[in-house]
């Protein structure tokens, strides 16, 4: 029996310990917000927080998260109580198909938790594990910058450069 915390709730499971966290969360705990994209840790659609760090959960065996704290997109915010990044995703009309966005937002939230004022290059570095086929990257970056502590400075810079 493997025990861990899922969105603040103590849970346990007796699945095969090699089962990836993604599928335990989706198929056993029925939280469908985290997505399957590649099954090889290459696209980031499955990103969750494990003890606060962004992880690709399609290649993380459930045994590796025993006694750890897992946060999924459902634990980050809800339609009635949005995380600032989720609000920014709406404000900047980030999602297109939307399939990768749970993973994108979880990666962005981990970045801002660790570095509330990231540079453009630091955002690129933190977000490059997450693929978006619809090409929402410019808006993802804009939304992250809007939420970061640098938002005011960024707005001023954009205005100076005539981009806003």
């Amino acid at each position: 029996m493997i025990q861990f915390t899922l969105n603040g709730r103590a849970v346990q499971t007796d699945v095969d310990p090699n089962t990836p966290l993604l599928w335990v969360v989706r198929d056993h705990f029925k939280l469908k917000g985290s997505k399957f994209g590649c099954g090889a840790g290459l696209c980031g659609a499955c990103t969750m927080h494990v003890d606060g760090a962004a992880m690709k959960t399609c290649v993380t065996p459930i045994a590796a998260v025993a006694d750890k704290s897992i946060i999924t997109i459902e634990g980050l915010g809800t339609p009635d109580d949005l995380h600032p990044l989720q609000a920014a995703w709406h404000e900047h009309a980030v999602p297109q198909c939307g399939y990768c966005q749970s993973g994108q937002i979880m990666a962005a939230a981990a970045l801002l938790d660790a570095n509330p004022n990231p540079s453009s290059d630091e955002i690129d570095a933190a977000m490059s594990g997450n693929i978006c086929r619809c090409g929402c990257y410019p808006r993802i970056k804009r939304a992250i910058q809007a939420v970061s502590e640098n938002a005011l400075a960024y707005d001023a810079m954009a205005q100076t450069e005539g981009r806003k």
């Binding site: 997505k35 099954g39 290459l42 696209c43 009309a93 990257y137």
Partner: protein, 734 residues
Amino acid sequence: MNTINVSRRRLLQASAVTGGGLVVGLGFTGCSGAPAPLPVTSTEGAWTPNAFLQVLPDNTIRFYTARSEMGQGVTTGLATLVGEELDVDPLDMDIRLAGVHEDYVNPAFGMQGTGGSSSIRAHYMQLRQVGANTRGLILEAAATDLGVSASALSTGNGFVLHGDKRYPYAAFVETAQSLSIEADAPLKPASQFQYIGQETKRVDAIAKATGTAEFGLDVDVPDMHYAVVVRTPVAGAKALSVNAESAKAMPGVINVFEVSTGVAVVAETFWQAKQAAAKVVVRWESMPLEAVDTATLRRDYAAALNAGDGVEGPVEGDIDEALQSAAKIHEAEYWAPLLSHSPMEPMNATVRIESDQADVWTGIQFPSAVPGLVSRIADIPTENVRFHQTYLGGGFGRRGSPSHIIEATEIAKVAGKPIQLVWTREDDIQQGPFRPASLMRIKAGVDADGNLIAWDAARAGADISPDTFRSLLPALYSWMGDGMIEGVANLSEWYFEKFATDESSTEGLFEDYDHPNTRVTHMTVDHELPMTFWRSVGHSYTAFAKESMIDEMAEAAGMDEVAFRLQNTQNTPRLNNVIQVAGEHMAKMNPPEGHHLGFAAHHSFYTDVAEIAEVSVENGKIRVHKVTCVLDCGQAVNPDIVRSQIEGGVIYGLTATLYGGLNLERGAIKESNFHDYPMLRMNESPEIEVVIVNSGTKPTGVGEPGLPPIAPAVANAVYKATGQRLRSLPLQLA
């Protein structure tokens, strides 16, 4: 934690009292007698004046979107059209994804399909009229109930206004039901638009940012089991022998059996099914395709071009005479590879068959196909198949093919349980259907004044349409037997090989410039790989050849690339105008040292686009820093969504420009996942500026037109940066 005001819709939903509804079809022509009932939610006390709208007792306005939402923002766009004339804010509507019904056909196709950047163009007048007629009926009912003249009434976001009094639309539903529908209520002039042309937020953004939007993969029904299919590495091969003993012994596995495309493994969870699938040993039949490598494709296409005995497409003037008399002639050959669509959501479908009833859940671009296909495979009446559309985790043409629905139905029938079929990413990249590879040869001539006078263009490769036609035939013609379908499908392939060009194969290769002497030739060379539409279809490769060649001809004529294009687009004024505007932008650009600007323009899906790519080459690596796109798509219904579609088209196109390319090795696709079939990521994504020029026409397409010009714009910039004219995609420096 911040919160934002999520729009009134959510508040309405929170307090919604749901209860039954009256359903009145819009009355599109159907061949059969009684129209099929609308597949809408039955809600007590609700009024359903047509297939698209319901007014609930609590004044929630429910909108059924007939087009598939694959990210292109069509749900927001269509809600905006109906909301403009109904006078309801699209963000306040309760949005539903429509099931299958003749009232939901795409007016551009006559079938229920989404593609060809057609939705906003095709529904622009229709849905506004639906909104206007419904509002007219509500006003008439209100006039009756309030005992006043309709002219004394106005509306405001779901309310009838009379003096200083407001009444919810729902208050007049009972009377409205007794009135006849007005067919041609007047539409607003553009000057009175309050939603069309505004940058409304997307109606689906919050659901998609909170993980609550339901995709096909998120569907869960009681007793659902998961299926993975072991597939042939070489297209079309059948299993000669199957050893499933070890797979059947794996935990959770309930059944392993053959289906038309391979061997299905059914288990309690996806993970168990995937693990067990790896244990299935299959001996596949040997196929002629095993003799084919990537180099074979190109060699065979070149041989066909050299032989020159293709099917002639449009021919104008005297091409041979024009080439003889030209001051300068130039010939070049361009290559574009096989590509996978690779939407982020791998193909999947959930099918439940119980006695003579079936339910299908998936996201698909072609809902029309579902009842016919499932009925044929499951042997139940078409009208007993219920289709439940979900959001599409990317489409790009891939979800116009019903492969996943066919497989899931076959598996559910044998398994006797509700089945969710899931393709792995490896299945997605290796199995197709693909964007075909193409070899294109263009010979062009200019006169001494820089006028293009001759354009002799040929393309060799597989046709795009026949495979899709073949897969949809059994769905659309339920009366045809399997043998007849095979015969008709073969006939269509033969027809395109011998007699006529599949227009998708050469579209964009010759239409944009003035050359009075034109010859287009097509050589169908088919190696029996499955093909289908890929974002912007033929334009995805023809624009690369055409706009590279135009740059080469400008140089041959000793002219500036923009001036040459302007001079030779006198007959295509809307394209000429975006070239003019983009040229003005380019003239003002001041790229840093080492950065170079490449230009390209292209017309597709009724929209004209010019793009400027700012590119540098550092350590042998091509880097795209900024893309400026000028487009004329007529009336932009939501300019912010237009911009996002262009951004997306550019980035999707950049992946193909810089990385895209599947390789065949002994008939099998070599690449398997994102490590060897890489996608553009944020760190390589350019800044993108979109300039919308509105010529005042009705809306034209935006989902695809942003893509075609980007590859040639980058290639033209690379030429300036390095002197290397790269004529093969993906672009690779020598």
